[in-house]
């Protein structure tokens, strides 16, 4: 005889028992009013619940839900800055040399975090300093990591930090840049520049502190990250292999970056 627990009675109602158990329960129901009463707990629940909740089955699905499926982007929250930049870095523009000058990423820091990534073209009045000048390019071409070179009469000091190959096998260098203002105040920025086939270095990513009191235009996002974390994240996204050892770097500089 099957033990008539609530679970068994319920499974009987739901048609989940095998033939023997089903027969046992059926006989018990016929023989015992207590079992009949008990089984009521389970017999009505499906019908009751469906009566209350079935309405959505008999009506059209709201357009806003269908639209979500048609256009997955429409309902999404704005993408995180890192993802946007990562996508940007994967753009064909990052790969071939022809697009080297077409665009770069500018991040402007403010307070403890970063506001607004702008993916801008170099025509847009940036960089404010001679980041893609001949002096800058020559400095990156010839200066070992950890050494500082000057541009613009010591008002702009650039220190390469590391050298690595990006995913299209170009040499890139992470650098720090100190701008010294008229009153001697210093501001530190971070950048990544890559070398094109003719030996010119171009800044691809630049993270600058925002001038105090000014809010960057088109600010949409706040990124709570230290600037060093941010530049490291950028480097790790575009780096194909770990940074070169200082000996390898010295060798490269000495042989004019011939692989």
């Amino acid at each position: 005889m099957t033990k008539l627990t609530d679970e068994i009675l319920m499974a009987y109602v739901d048609g989940e028992l095998d033939e023997k158990e089903t027969n046992d329960v059926r006989k018990a129901i016929e023989a015992d009013p207590k079992v009949q009463k008990r089984i009521e707990i389970f017999t009505g629940s499906a019908a009751m619940l469906q009566g209350v909740y079935d309405a959505p089955l008999h009506e059209a699905v709201p357009k806003r839900i269908l639209k979500t499926l048609e256009n997955p982007e429409s309902g999404k929250p704005p993408r995180k800055l890192f993802n946007r930049i990562a996508d940007f870095l994967r753009m064909p523009g990052w790969q071939p040399a022809y697009a080297l000058m077409a665009s770069f990423v500018l991040l402007i820091g403010i307070g403890a975090g970063y506001l607004a990534s702008e993916i801008i073209s170099p025509n847009k009045a940036f960089p404010p300093v001679a980041l893609n000048s001949e002096k800058f390019s020559w400095g990156l071409e010839t200066t070992a990591s950890g050494q500082t070179f000057n541009i613009a009469d010591r008002a702009l000091q650039v220190t390469p930090v590391s050298t690595f190959l990006d995913k299209s096998q170009r040499y890139c260098r992470q650098y720090e840049q100190v701008i010294i203002g008229q009153n001697g105040e210093k501001s530190l920025s971070h950048g990544i520049a890559c070398r094109d086939a003719s030996g010119n270095w171009h800044t691809m990513i630049y993270i600058a502190p925002h001038p105090a009191g000014k809010s960057p235009a088109n600010s949409t996002e706040y990124i709570p990250a230290g600037e060093e974390d941010l530049i490291d994240t950028m480097v790790s996204r575009i780096m194909a292999s770990p940074p070169l050892a200082i000996e390898q770097e010295t060798k490269l500089i000495n042989q004019a970056w011939e692989k």
Binding site: T5, D6, A46, A55, R64, L69, P72
Partner: protein, 167 residues
């Protein structure tokens, strides 16, 4: 996915007892599913996966509201749900009682009732959806139905133990 939507909306409605919250939930679940479609394993049940997503969003949503001290209202105008039974006062009252009873149940009770009693999933499919053993499905389901019965019938006439009536 589109073919699943009526069932997903009914499931979400069972969990929320609010048509609008239900549709918000389904919409959020669709967005999440699309953004994570790589996580869905081909060959597994899409409905189970969607039910899980809906439930997770629902439970997370309540937690985050509660943690911010927001009272989560479960009230819903019953007029929206009883169109089919205007003629039958008794049935209407019963449905009203069921709705009220459901609001007093836990999310996990509502979830299992939604899957088995409303969506009609087998115990096996329910176990797969909830990723728990079948024995757990049966004990949870029996408990939820006893509670529902007790609340809907407004009495303690049943000594609602987990024991059977005879052995």
């Amino acid at each position: 996915m589109v073919a699943l939507l009526p069932r997903l909306r009914r499931y979400a409605y069972t969990l929320t007892s609010s048509r609008e919250d239900a549709d918000d939930l389904v919409q959020a679940a669709c967005e999440r599913a699309l953004s994570r479609r790589h996580q869905w394993q081909t060959g597994t049940r899409l409905d189970s996966w969607m039910f899980r997503i809906i439930y997770t969003i629902r439970v997370d949503g309540i937690r985050s509201l509660q943690s911010r001290g927001v009272h989560v209202s479960m009230e819903e105008d019953f007029r929206q749900t009883n169109d089919g039974c205007k003629e039958d006062l008794e049935a209407k009252l019963m449905l009203q009682r069921v709705l009220q009873a459901m609001k007093q149940l836990s999310d996990s009770n509502r979830q299992i009732l939604a899957l088995v009693c409303i969506d009609g999933l087998s115990y096996k499919d329910t176990a797969e959806t909830l990723q728990v053993p079948m024995g757990t499905v049966m004990s949870r389901l029996a408990r939820a139905r006893r509670k529902l019965y007790e609340l809907a019938h407004g009495s303690n006439e049943l000594k609602l133990s987990t024991q059977g009536v005879m052995t």
